[in-house]
Amino acid sequence: MRNSVEMIIAAFLLGATATSATAFQSGREPAYQSARESGLVGEKSDGYLGFVVPPSSSVRALVEDINIKRKAVYSKEALANGATVEEMALRTGCRLIVERTVAGEKYQTPSGIWKTRDGSAPELDPRCPQ
């Protein structure tokens, strides 16, 4: 009996550590992380977040806020590299779909369809450097 209680506590602690480790790794706000995981929002091919389903007001506000911040970051880095904001956004978008969108999360294909990431390679914009 005592053993099983200890086991449960250990399992719980381990689970809590794993969850916080994932959250820490992604560096995202919990609301944003859960919107990604539940497939409400996804990565568009142009480097910004998009709505997979019609958003609630809170999800809309969250995504608009993040997209404004992304644009600010893209603008700054584009200027430093002699690129346009759109070029910087597209290039980062390619990387975001490949590297930062995990299995189960949504991304938009060049044809505009929302797909769920799985183990296979994602459909990227043809302009993405391979």
Binding site: E77, N81, A83, M88, R127
Partner: protein, 79 residues
Amino acid sequence: MAQCCDQLTNRTDNAIRCYMRKMIFLCTPLMASVLTGCVQVTAPDKPIVINLNIAIRQEILYKLAAASEKVIQENPGVF
């Protein structure tokens, strides 16, 4: 009509009336042309297409490999 205005009669305002008639006669086509000469704006029958395709330079995309990695690493909260 020109003679009528020069004609003197016992009516004191005859000349004025005559000039006014002349003015009305001359101004009516002018007024009409002003009224019909309004700028006509008609909607085009074809939809207006604004090309929003922004030129993406392929060689620049190749050069942005490091920069795109950097922005993601430095701003984990927004990606």
